[in-house]
Amino acid sequence: MLTFLIRRLAIVLPTLLFVSFIIFGLQQLLPGDPASAMAGEERDPEVVAHVRKMLHLDEPLPVRYGYWIGAVLQGDLGLSLRIQKPVTELVLEKLPVTIQLATMAFLIALLIGIPMGVLSAVKNGTAWDYGANVIALWGLSTPNFWLGIMMILLFSVQLGWPPASGFVPPSEDLSRNLQSTIMPAFVLGNAIAAVMMRHTRSAMLQVLTTDYVRTARAKGLGEGKVVGKHAFRNASIPVITLGALEFGQLLSGAVLTEQVFTIPGFGKLIVDAVFNRDYAVVQGVVLCTATAYLLLNLMADILYVLANPRLRG
């Protein structure tokens, strides 16, 4: 296990280094003088000079990267020129909101996707299977921002149900917090539920044809026990690990959902930063998301090895 961990870390660390190259390289995409672009509309010469000095724009590219990565390694993601706050502080402020939303969305995806996948595999080739596949295809093809708009239209505008937008922190009022996040969480979890359904279905179909399932049936065990105890337990290993990877996708999907429901999370932070040309915030958010995604990847691999005794060695 230790060798495996060292081997995986040996891949993750250089990958992180390349991620930092890409994110730093984004700055080079800015047309014209980066200092002028970052200084905002007025292009006040003093501000431009300040930005140039702050970002070491007069230095050669590798030196600038050195300054940037050195600061990042010390937890300094730069300064938001618009809000005049350290980016690290902004990220830490907004991250809990997105993590809550993503966790709720993930739970919803599991609660919908796994039972649907199991049902679809057990009733393979029947109307149940067909129906579950249609629902999955619907989930994969619906843009989540449109689903969000349609749900606001139906539930909030027509039926007057949960608040259409806004966010109440759980520390303030838990019940109102859940009310304000349940609809966005469903919207965000919708596509992942479809992916989980497909993974579960395919893993269950594979397991249901194995010898040990046939033996369990031959012993006279009830179908519920065969499916729940023998088949699903084994089929759930790849599903859990793939689920961990899908969690990373939720961080990306949250950008749009937070925009539709006006939730002040990570996604709203990057979109606002884009429009305010607050490039340090954009870079900071992308870096944090990519790091989280890589760590989730690593966690998925570890989970897979832990859950599969044959790989533990």
């Binding site: 992180l16 984004l26 708009i149 505008v157 990306s252 950008v255 992308v286 990519a290 995604y293």
Partner: protein, 294 residues
């Protein structure tokens, strides 16, 4: 057996079906894929013939018909400045399909040669290219596209470039994996043994054999690219007003949900139908080209 006998015997056999013809036959047997294909063709036709089939100019405002509900004059209603929603949905198909096709073309043009090189050459070059690919894959597709569109500046062209580059690592990985499988096959060994150059082996012997999975991935990625373009336009980073795009139409529509809900329905339905059709076609192609995957 004489040559004449052999010829007679061969004439008696059924003609050998080419792999592509067999795949087409399999594809046509899948109802979902056929429906998906027909809908995709229909939307392409709508996009191409938009100026002839659109009832109005998609950018023409009519202050006397602001936020009018669907009627005989305006089948899908009008928007906040009196533009015909149907005309904008029809012209919006151009932005969406163009973004889907161009982004995937960019991803294929970059991803296939890099993947081919990585898989064929192997060694340290493969290791280096794979670390870069992993790094790109670590940045979620939409976040990377948003960041790139932000730095490049908001426009449909930049959105297509951003989506294309963000989708490239998928094609690098797929091509590399396929090349690694194919390059050890006997026919590649034979091509090498008869003295073919590396270029010729890669382009004439390996590449044609990895096209089917690339086709499937390209179809499915087109669906993802259409959603990505709509997402970027929804955020204001894609197609810029007054040019119509389904995503930007939804962006405006969300501010008028109580007064003009029809503004939000039709662009969304269009995205859903096109994406669903590409997904159905992609699933069908996968089953037709690789029956083991079923």
């Amino acid at each position: 057996m004489s040559v004449a006998d052999a010829t007679t015997a061969l004439h008696g056999l059924a003609p050998i079906e080419s792999p592509w013809r067999r795949a087409l036959r399999r594809l046509l047997r899948r109802r979902g894929a056929v429906v998906g294909g027909i809908v995709v063709i229909a939307f392409v036709a709508i996009a191409v013939f938009a100026p002839w089939i659109s009832p109005y100019d998609p950018t023409a405002t009519d202050w006397g018909a602001v936020r009018k509900a669907p009627s005989a004059a305006h089948w899908f209603g009008t928007d906040e400045i009196g533009r015909d929603v149907l005309a904008r949905v029809i012209f919006g198909a151009r932005a969406s399909l163009l973004a889907g096709v161009i982004s995937v073309a960019i991803a294929l043009a970059l991803g296939v040669p890099i993947g081919l090189l990585s898989g064929y050459v192997g060694g340290w070059l493969d290791g280096l290219l794979m670390r870069i690919t992993d790094a790109m894959l670590a940045c979620p597709f939409l976040i990377l596209a948003i960041a790139m569109a932000a730095f490049l500046g908001p426009s449909l062209t930049n959105a297509m470039i951003a989506i294309g580059i963000s989708a490239t690592p998928i094609f690098i990985r797929l091509t590399r994996g396929q090349v690694q499988t194919v390059k050890v096959e006997d026919f590649v060994e034979a091509a090498r043994a008869v003295g073919n150059t590396h270029w010729r082996i890669a382009l004439r012997h390996i590449l044609p054999n990895i096209i089917p999975p690339l086709m499937v991935q390209a179809t499915l990625t087109t669906a993802a690219a259409i959603i990505a373009e709509a997402s970027l336009s929804f955020l204001g980073l894609g197609q810029q007003p007054p040019a119509p795009s389904w995503g930007s139409m939804l962006n405006i529509a969300k501010n008028f949900l109580t007064q003009a809900p029809w503004m939000a329905v039709w662009p969304g339905v269009s995205i859903f139908v096109v994406v669903l059709s590409f997904n159905l076609l992609g699933d069908g192609l996968r089953d037709a080209l690789d029956p083991k995957h079923r």
